[in-house]
Subunit: 131 residues, 2 copies
């Protein structure tokens, strides 16, 4: 096994600090992708369907995003029926674009390894002393 130089350089090459946990969680990533694709906003019911979330999960994740000021939630009435509109904010859009750049780096890093055919992965145990 080739010794890597991580310790020598002190670089945490694959740490991906930019993968903000508020955004990275799967349901919230799904919500933000829906909302950036519909910048004028989406109704609660449509968002629920697009992201395949339950009412409870959708409410919970929207609350996290709202507290982080990444989305706004506006309650109103239409034909006397309650309506909830969700939209991505300017900050949400900016933060999500920054997050996507880090995600692209993950894919570039992994794809480079995959395309280099770097993979003759482990089939069974091997004593590291013999590596």
């Amino acid at each position: 096994m080739k010794k890597i130089n991580a310790r020598a350089t002190g670089v945490s090459r694959f740490a991906y600090d930019g993968l903000d946990r508020v955004i990275h969680e799967r349901a919230r990533l799904s919500l933000l992708t829906s909302l950036i694709t519909h910048p004028t906003g989406l109704m609660f019911g449509d968002l629920k369907q697009l992201c395949a979330l339950t009412d409870g999960n959708l409410s919970r994740h929207l609350q996290v995003l709202e507290e982080a000021k990444l989305v706004v939630i506006v309650k109103g009435l239409k034909l006397n029926r309650p309506q909830t509109l969700c939209r991505i904010t300017s900050l949400g859009r900016r933060r999500f674009i920054e997050y996507l750049a880090v995600l692209e780096q993950v894919i570039l890093d992994a794809d480079a390894a995959v395309k280099a055919g770097a993979g003759t992965p482990a089939k069974g145990g091997q004593n590291p002393a013999r590596a």
Copy 2:
């Protein structure tokens, strides 16, 4: 606001079911990217540094990946000192590549919206009844 046709088509367009939670968690995503990039394996200490994890976090996340059979962990001795080698398995490589394809779809979906200049995001509240 334009009405979307999610309900009519029943399609959960942005659900991204393929974002397997075992892989998607940030530290584990970091670990798998490191390991697919080093298919002959990485020592515990190098992995810790590359991913900027503590001993405890690294052990915990490696255990999750090992239980899912995505990595193998081999303990041995080198010059009488204990050594722990971690490697991605064939299954781990396959599952990670599948995961990356879904991740690419997220980026494509979001980038399409960003590049279309689709974003005149919300600045303040707006009554959905007037949308």
